[in-house]
Structures are given as structure tokens and as C-alpha cells.
Amino acid sequence: MSEIFVPGVPGLAFDDHHMPYLQGARCTACDARFPSTRQSCAACGQRRSMEAWRLPTEGTLRSYSIVHRSYPGIAVPFVSAIISLAGGLALKGRLEGVAPTPEALVFGLPVNIIFSPTDHRDTQGNRYMAYHFQPVQSV
């Protein structure tokens, strides 16, 4: 029996091969994009115009904070990053694989969105799946 994973963040979905991806929404009336589902379009007010849209899997570092004080029990420091995806959408996540220093964090750094299970479980004991960012490895 393989372990059952459940989405830990809005928009995280699993495809037919049980592979996680981020599902946003797109408005068929005005082409506005959203990083997760919406009931109706927050850009143009259309109802019944939202369709699922699969987010890209890479982006570039737009902004960040190096977090030294978080909620009790959360290991610090870590990098809270905002990345830009193709088309201008922004996504927040934890950036790993880069030293948490201003010198190491270069704006525009290309990153991949990596899906990974978290240490958190839901009330049924299923593990939450989430994502983080990793620099694109140059070969």
C-alpha cells in the first residue's frame, strides 16, 4: 500500500498518474489568471467563466525575506520567496538550496517548483503534500 497524500496548499492537485501539480484558474471572458480556484472572476465579475489552468513549474526569484523569527517550533532561518511565473503570476514559497543571506539571494535567479511531502498530517493521518523552490541546476 502506498501512502496517501493530500493537498496541503490551495491549488495543489494530483493528475491521473498521481503526480502533484498546481492548478490555478483562468477566466474565459477576460483571461485573468489566479494561482488557485475561484468561484467567479475577481477581475471582471463574470460568473461561470472560470476554467482550470495548470501553472508553470518554473519561475524566477522576484522578492524574498530571510525569516529569523517565525511561529514557535518553526526552524529558522529560512528564505520566504516570491517567484514570478510566465505571464506575471507570483507565487510564494520556501526557497531551498541557497544560503539564507542577502549576498546569495540574487533577483532573477531561475527556480523550479518542487513537490514534496511535508511532516504535517490531516485528521485521517494522510500526509500533506506541498511545494518549495529550488534553483535550476546548471549542468
Binding site: I74, A90, F107, H120
Partner: protein, 381 residues
């Protein structure tokens, strides 16, 4: 429609007040404002009250129970950190509409120390999906400015140096101490580039104001001490594709544009500004959002000392949220109390000489749900 005036306004001394409750602080501030106007609770037509953090608190009813249960309407307002300023705006609208003539607005908060922890639904995302703490969110907004314009850690830190210096002249501020630049930059890092001295202080406090219609001001003979509300604007952040960075800038820009249009003035006409420096990074963004300088010029504005006491356009002479303190629901009214002091020539050592026009700005941020902003322009009547 009638102009609307502030005829009484004041605040409790911000700080940690272990024995106080939100209600007791609100009562203290309400009496101060009533006495400032020289009116009685029996004269009031309505109360607009705001409190966010005391569970189950209906502050307007609680206050009336302590100062006079006269049967008047109570309105309870909730708009994140813009709760107090939204109470003022709602009262302003009701007076404009001719429904009320004399209204008490009050905001009060009793706060915990440290990082405010928001409740989560589903998986706890803090530390997994980056950070949702306010110091981090405003650090990310600041670093987005740094990416575009090269704004530096040092320039952000200078905001804290300036506002702490201003607070040394304000007996109602929480922190009254000089913090030199090296001290600010070397303080405990909370969320780079915001060090501890670049984060607003969670404090206990209340602020209250008495608003009146023009007819009521004349009738009470208070025009010589009245403050005219030249503009009252409220906006929420519009849709943006990059909402992972919340619309703090866009909400402020919208509210500011409305306010300048309503007042028929521009940023060059202002004598002083109290803006929402919840974190040092935020203050520089708002220089541009409020039109105090062009886009990308905020770093140069703080370097030149233009926004310091004695500068071209002094910002946060009260000490701001960084040092005066930030009791969320009280903040929006306390900002106006500072402007009113200057317009009346009662600000003591930090007085802007001959101040005629001031702007008070607030941002309310509710995580992913969005952001709101209020901008009020006040004038010596």
C-alpha cells in the same frame, strides 16, 4: 452636504498596561475626546467602535455601559488595522448624510507581545509555504522595491532611526529612545531586512474622536478648535495577477487618489503626514504611494532628510507605529490625533509651525484575503 469636523480627539498613553482591558482603555480615550470637545455623553447621537483582538467584545456597547447608556445606536466596525480609521469614515458618511450630528468614534486594543499568530485552516503553512508573518510579508514588499530601484537595508533602517527620534518628543509614545543607525541594523533580525527596531510595537492603547456636523459645531461654538475633514477615502486592493505580494501599494494608491481629488489638493500642499509604518520597509513604499515623491525616489527622500522633523514634508512626527506603538484598532484614530495636535498648534516641541493641512494614512492587511487602505486629509478650520 454638511462639512464634517473633528471637535475632540485624543488617545491613551500607548504602552503595556497589564491591568487594563480594551474597554477600560476605550473609556479613558472616550472621556479624553469628550473633554477635548467639551461635550457630554448625553449629547452624542451615535457611537462607532472598533476592536479586533478581544474575543466577543462589542466595544461600543461596553463603552456606553461605562459612560452613559442613553439608548443611541452603536456601530461595530472591523477592517483589520484600518478599523479605527474606517470607524471615522463611517461616522463621516452618516454625518454627511444628515443622519447624525455628533458622534463618538473609538478604537481600542489589548495586545500580546511578539509576532502575531494568525489561525490556520488545514495544513499549517508557516515555514512550509514561506512565511505569512507580518514582518516577513512587509519585508518581501520592501525587497520587491529593492529589486526595482536598488533600495538598501540602510535606507530602510533610516526610517526607524527617524521615527524613534521623533518619538522622543512624544510623551504618549511607547518607546522614547534614540536608536542610531548602527544599532537599528545590528538589532535582532526578525525578517530581513526588518530588524526588531524596524517592527512596530504591539501595545495596549485606545484613541477616540468626536465628529460633528457644521451646524452642530456652530451651535456648540467650537469652530475655533475644529478640524475640517477635507477628504475621507477608503479602498480595497483591486485584482492583480501577482497577489502573492498583497495589494498594500495599490490599495494605498487608490485611497490617496480619491482623497486628493476629494480635497482638491495635492501632496505638495501637505504640511505633515502620519502614514502606516507597521514596518520600516513599508514607510518607504508609502512615500511613493502617497505621491510624496516619484516612483523609485523613496530611498533618496529618506537619505535627504526630507521626511524628518524640520524637513520638507515631515512624516510620522508622533514616532509612528514603530515607536509610538500599534494597538491595531486604535491606530487609525491615533494617527489623526497627531495631525490634529499640529493643526491646532498644540504639538509642543515637535510642532510643525503654521501647519494647515495634514494627511493620515492606514493600511489593513488580512493575509491572502487582501488589503485595505484609508486616507484622510485634515485641515485647520
Amino acid at each position: 452636504m454638511s462639512d464634517v469636523y473633528i471637535v475632540g480627539i485624543d488617545m491613551s498613553r500607548f504602552g503595556r498596561v497589564p491591568d487594563a482591558t480594551a474597554t477600560s482603555l476605550a473609556v479613558e480615550a472616550s472621556w479624553l475626546a469628550l473633554d477635548d470637545a467639551g461635550v457630554s455623553p448625553l449629547d452624542l447621537d451615535a457611537v462607532y467602535a472598533g476592536n479586533l483582538l478581544t474575543p466577543g467584545c462589542y466595544l461600543g456597547l461596553e463603552v456606553l455601559r461605562q459612560i452613559g447608556q442613553t439608548g443611541i445606536p452603536t456601530h461595530h466596525v472591523k477592517n483589520a488595522c484600518a478599523t479605527g480609521s474606517t470607524a471615522i469614515r463611517d461616522a463621516w458618511m452618516a454625518i454627511k448624510a444628515g443622519v447624525y450630528d455628533l458622534v463618538l468614534c473609538v478604537g481600542a486594543e489589548k495586545m500580546e507581545k511578539g509576532v502575531i499568530q494568525l489561525p490556520s485552516v488545514g495544513m499549517p503553512t508557516e515555514g512550509v509555504i514561506g512565511s505569512g508573518t507580518m514582518p516577513s510579508v512587509f519585508a518581501e514588499l520592501g525587497m520587491d522595491h529593492a529589486r526595482q530601484y536598488g533600495t538598501t537595508f540602510e535606507q530602510f533602517a533610516k526610517v526607524a532611526v527617524k521615527n524613534h527620534h521623533h518619538a522622543t518628543f512624544n510623551p504618549k509614545a511607547m518607546y522614547r529612545m534614540e536608536t542610531p543607525l548602527d544599532e537599528v541594523m545590528a538589532a535582532d533580525m526578525i525578517a530581513y531586512p526588518n530588524t526588531k527596531l524596524m517592527c512596530s510595537a504591539n501595545v495596549d492603547g485606545a484613541a477616540a474622536a468626536i465628529l460633528a456636523s457644521e451646524a452642530r459645531v456652530q451651535q456648540l461654538g467650537l469652530m475655533d478648535r475644529a478640524i475640517r475633514i477635507r477628504a475621507s477615502a477608503l479602498a480595497s486592493a483591486p485584482y492583480a495577477i501577482d497577489s502573492a505580494l498583497p495589494g498594500v501599494n495599490s490599495a494605498t494608491q487608490r485611497a490617496a487618489a480619491q482623497a486628493y481629488k476629494m480635497a482638491g489638493v495635492g501632496p505638495q500642499d501637505l504640511d505633515l503626514v502620519e502614514l502606516h509604518d507597521c514596518f520600516a520597509t513599508a514607510e518607504l513604499l508609502h512615500y511613493e504611494n502617497l505621491g510624496l515623491c516619484a516612483a523609485g525616489e523613496a530611498g533618496r527622500l529618506i537619505d535627504a532628510g526630507d521626511t524628518a522633523m524640520g524637513g520638507r514634508i515631515p512624516v510620522n512626527l508622533s514616532g509612528g507605529l514603530l515607536s509610538k506603538g500599534h494597538p491595531t484598532s486604535a491606530t487609525g484614530i491615533a494617527n489623526m490625533a497627531e495631525i490634529a495636535l499640529h493643526l491646532r498648534g498644540m504639538a509642543g516641541a515637535r510642532q510643525v509651525e503654521g501647519a494647515r493641512l495634514g494627511l493620515a494614512h492606514v493600511v489593513g492587511l488580512v493575509g491572502e484575503a487582501g488589503a485595505v487602505s484609508t486616507v484622510h486629509i485634515l485641515e485647520r478650520a
